[in-house]
């Protein structure tokens, strides 16, 4: 998986290098902010972002996608770090990587097809809300000067691009950081209570070194970190595969999802072994990359390498950057990640879609675990689908006086959810000689539906009727899990049209 088409690397050199630099500048505040979320020193997030970006450039499945330390994974580590410390986080990161590689080999990326558009929107909205909420500690119980700086920062981020000429070439988040830092450096004093990055913990001053996580290698450790690793692995893959889809769509190109799963795993292992936290693909940064003209693997590599160079050599300057400037960047990321149109669409979309989206958001914000939200969304969405399918079922009947025969024609999908409805269509009080149940235009999907048919037949026989079932062979073909009409369009046609 180290081999990539040459074009993936060198098809767009100038665009990729410039975009990579823009991304690196935006990655630094994010990596620091996410370290703060996880409760570790900024250097943990910065080393992670370097390791993940550089490795994924080679082993990832989606050229031009940016992966680094992320909010989604950072949120899952909080209690682990608080209760057991950094070394356990590093071990959990390596284990999450191993799980992701396993997921790649098991083709688990295919389960992404269960994630509907509503769930995806819910995921992004929830992520945006979480990123915003993570900024609240920096925004509560602080002086008015901090609010003013954040507001100024946001103003610069959104308005600077309108400045003629330089507005288009200088990344506005960087201009925000420089301006706020200069203001605080020259006009700030201790009484204002303005916090800087150095208050958050250690910054990297050397290149990262290879370190085996300092934890006892025993079953207790494994038991302790496993739940965290599973959550991190799942959330990381979910966000990565969703981001890959977004980039696929934006650039009208395709990606190798299986390779992406394995690549994310390798990148996390690499991150854990040089003292970085787990990460995954970043929707916001990847969009910034595409917007800045980045398309190839080179953009991701440049972002990672440039980030490390900046951080190691500029750590003294980075230390005095006020948190207010980073908060402004993170609020921008939150605003950019949120799908604002989804609020307008609440009115126009089907109610079921809106409920799925909102349920996903609520569960995530409540549990701080995006995986739970996605599972909830998938579950509720599936229930709605089952409900919908049940509506496509009815039984009509006709009575032939001459032979004293009632014929029931069953049409539609019969499965666990529609079985009761199916039984309800039969008139057990009617005393007739012969009953024919024609199931030719229906499909029996599961054990419940077959049991329902049995129940109907037994009951009718008890009432003294001769019951005959017509067309069962083809109707129950659906029962076989391995029934493979999907290979043959003609077969599907025959099948769905009631044979």
């Amino acid at each position: 998986m180290l081999f990539s088409p040459k074009n993936d690397w060198f098809g767009n050199i100038k665009g990729d290098v410039l975009a990579g630099i823009v991304v690196a500048l935006a990655l630094i505040p994010e990596a620091i902010a996410f370290s703060v979320i996880a409760g570790v020193d900024p250097k943990v997030g910065l080393y992670a972002s370097f390791a993940i970006a550089v490795m994924i450039a080679f082993v990832g499945g989606r050229a031009g996608m940016i992966s680094a330390a992320t909010a989604a994974t950072a949120l899952l580590m909080v209690t682990l770090v608080k209760d057991h410390g950094l070394q356990y986080l590093l071990a959990a990161t390596v284990l999450a990587g191993i799980l992701q590689i396993l997921a790649g080999y098991l083709n688990l990326h295919k389960f992404m097809s269960f994630v509907s558009k509503s769930v995806m929107t819910g995921f992004l909205n929830a992520l945006a809300i979480l990123i915003f909420m993570a900024q609240l500690p920096e925004l509560t119980n602080v002086s008015w000067q901090v609010y003013a700086l954040v507001a100024l920062g946001l103003g610069i981020i959104y308005l600077f691009p309108y400045v003629p000429y330089i507005g288009k070439i200088m990344p506005s988040p960087l201009v925000n950081i420089i301006t706020i830092t200069l203001i605080v450096f020259f006009f700030g004093n201790d009484s204002m209570g303005i916090r800087t990055i150095s208050d958050m913990g250690e910054l990297p001053d050397t290149l990262p070194i290879f370190l085996w996580p300092d934890v006892p290698f025993n079953i207790e450790t494994l038991k302790l970190i496993m739940p965290y690793s599973i959550s991190i692995a799942i959330v990381g893959l979910l966000e990565s595969l969703m981001t890959a889809n977004v980039i696929d769509e934006l650039t009208d190109t395709s990606s190798d999802k299986k390779r992406e799963c394995k690549g994310q795993g390798l990148a996390n292992i690499g991150s854990g072994l040089i003292g970085g936290m787990a990460g995954c693909a970043m929707i916001g940064q990847s969009i910034i990359n595409v917007k800045s003209g980045g398309r190839g693997r080179l953009s991701t590599l440049v972002a990672g390498v440039f980030l490390l160079i900046l951080v190691v050599f500029l750590s003294d300057i980075l230390k005095i950057v006020p948190m207010a400037a980073l908060v402004a960047v993170m609020i921008m990321v939150s605003i950019g990640t949120f799908s604002w149109t989804s609020i307008k669409e609440l009115k126009t979309n089907p109610k079921s879609a809106s409920i799925v989206m909102i349920a996903t958001v609520i569960v995530v914000v409540w549990t701080h675990n995006l995986a739970f939200g996605v599972f909830t969304g998938i579950l509720i969405g599936s229930l709605f689908l089952a409900q919908r399918l049940s509506q496509f079922m009815f039984v009509k009947s006709e009575y032939d006086e001459a032979s004293d025969t009632r014929t029931y024609h069953v049409v539609g999908q019969i499965f666990f959810n529609s079985s009761d409805k199916f039984i309800g269509y039969f008139d057990f009080k009617e005393a007739v000689e012969n009953i024919i149940i024609n199931v030719k235009r229906s499909h029996f999907y599961d054990v419940t539906s077959v049991a329902a048919l049995d129940k109907v037949v037994i009951k009718l026989r008890r009432e003294g009727a001769d019951v005959k079932i017509v067309g069962l062979n083809s109707a129950s073909q659906t029962m076989l899990d391995k029934f493979a009409v999907h290979d043959d369009p003609e077969e599907i046609e025959k099948f769905m049209s009631g044979h």
């Binding site: 665009g15 975009a19 991304v23 650039t251 969009i287 800045s292």
Partner: protein
Amino acid sequence: MSENNKYILVGIDGSAISNALVDYAIWLAKSNGLTIKLIHTIEHSHHTENPHHEGNLTPNIRRELLKELSEEERVESKALIAQGKELINAAKEKVLAAGIDNVVAKLRHGTLPEAIEDLKAETQLIMLGSKGISHQDEELGLGFHLEESIRATETPVFIAQKDFSDPKKVLFAYNGSPTAKRALAMITQDTIYKEPLEIHIVSVNNDSKLAQQLVTEAQAAFTDSSNTIITKTLSGDTIEQLTQYQKENQIDITAMGAFSHGKVHGFFFGSFTTKMIQQSDTNFLLIR
């Protein structure tokens, strides 16, 4: 699908050699009666000419960016399609003017190797120019997609490398390898070209006895007596000897098995086939 419904797939990209390539296609189609399918691929750059380096995320950026990028690519595609249509229609006119009515012209999105892969079920012979439009001024350049295209299929590939003149002499390089054996089988079937030709069977091997054995073996496979068969054994560096023989005997087409080694081998040692094409002036018929 019967053999007769298959095409000669001709890749047209508007490079200098495209014109000669159409002539060769006409020459072959007149002999074998196959339909000529001219294709031109629309390769999207998927890059933007108009990057934004503001580095910020505005509300609904995904939607806005998608709108902008698709509009940009739509304009690009429209222009490429118009350009491609012109190229391919000119080629089609040329084929029709030569008296061949069985000709279709198609534009496809994607790269040439992709198109070849997608169409391989209906292709009997592929015809390409040795240098694509982006390499035509380079001395040694081979078309960017040529190797990949040839590897994408098991269909024989004709590669035009020199201006058109009615081909008369074919050099068949035979070394007894499995690909060479397949090439021999293909050529002796006469499905590609049916009129008589002067065929030079050449084997380069330092073991002259073995070389002699190989050419005899190959000669025996040619049962159609209308061809003129000449055999020759040579020793020394294969590429050097073959290219020299091409020059001395005014060979028009070199036929041989191609890319018998995998991609990785080619990556480290360079591909014999690629070097051979680069150092020759003749056209090629490559059989995988």
